[in-house]
Symmetry: C2
Subunit: 159 residues, 2 copies
DNA sequence: CATGAAAACAGGTCTTA
DNA sequence: TAAGACCTGTTTTCATG
């Protein structure tokens, strides 16, 4: 059985998925180029992209940054477990730490998972020292990335 | 003391940082618009963007996807610890699971940290079932995101 | 197919090492 | 004086009706 991806305006078909993959890969690919690749006219592709935006599937356009290239070669995941009563404080501190590139609130023993980019181990220590008064932390240095940011897909989707 | 962001071709100044922030926020902002915002001519901004690309700081252009909008409303972080001797196998399996949007190899007790997007709890179970023969897993459902993907910055940077 | 906007390009000026 | 950064005007490309 084939799974169908749905959104408010109807089904996403294989062409939509190919368009999305191309845009994830290179958001500056021209409409003409995408059209050629999927075998459609440029206006048709243009219209599909418009619908993907209005359906909220494409939230926006952004750049991929290489933190190492501007002096932040050390990346780590921090798991953060606030001491009772300090959850709000910790949340605010995390937002205020500029080295944190992303942070999610999660279920389970840890309350937050944050990705940090720093220049050195002492810099990492300084980041942790800002959190440690209000939470227990657990740090994992990123060594490599077997899967870099890509379009998630349900198993057996209609692509 | 002001920290200076360095890259191979020299220093990044405050204007470069503003350009990067604008592009992270909206990679389709026109050069003219960015130029107006930073108080420069379009060609100057264009030249700076070119240098940021050639310096490897801007790795590429991409789109922000909302997985919930196309039928994957449930997101989770998986921590994965392969049983001895199965690290390579696990790494391959993780690459093959289409629901995994990103996966890092890390130091510490866990070997991998992966973000998955699925349609339902049963779908999450199916993902975990593919991994469990070769590794111990620990799952944290994402509830919210106090910090959404942003440009990391050293404390006290020259912006 | 035509129109309008936006980006790439070329040439000229000013500052600074 | 030479190099680099920026600005103005022009051309060409691309998205859109």
């Amino acid at each position: 059985m084939i799974k169908r991806l749905r959104y408010e305006n109807g089904d996403l078909d294989a062409v939509d998925l190919r368009i999305l993959r191309m845009l994830v890969d290179d958001a500056r690919a021209s409409v003409a180029e995408i059209a050629r690749s999927v075998g459609m006219s440029a206006p048709s592709v243009s219209e599909r992209i418009r619908r993907l935006q209005e359906g909220g599937i494409i939230e926006g356009y952004t750049i991929r940054i290489n933190p190492a290239a501007f002096g932040l070669p050390l990346a780590a995941w921090l798991r953060i477990r606030p001491v009772p009563g300090q959850l709000g404080t910790v949340s605010e501190i995390l937002r205020d730490i500029p080295e944190i590139a992303t942070c999610d609130r999660v279920t389970g023993e840890d309350c937050f998972i944050a990705r940090v980019h720093v220049g050195s181990v002492p810099d990492l220590e300084r980041v942790i020292d800002r959190i440690i008064p209000y939470a227990m932390t657990n740090t994992s240095i990123i060594q490599s990335s077997p899967v870099t940011e890509r379009l998630p897909m349900p198993a057996g989707a209609n692509d």
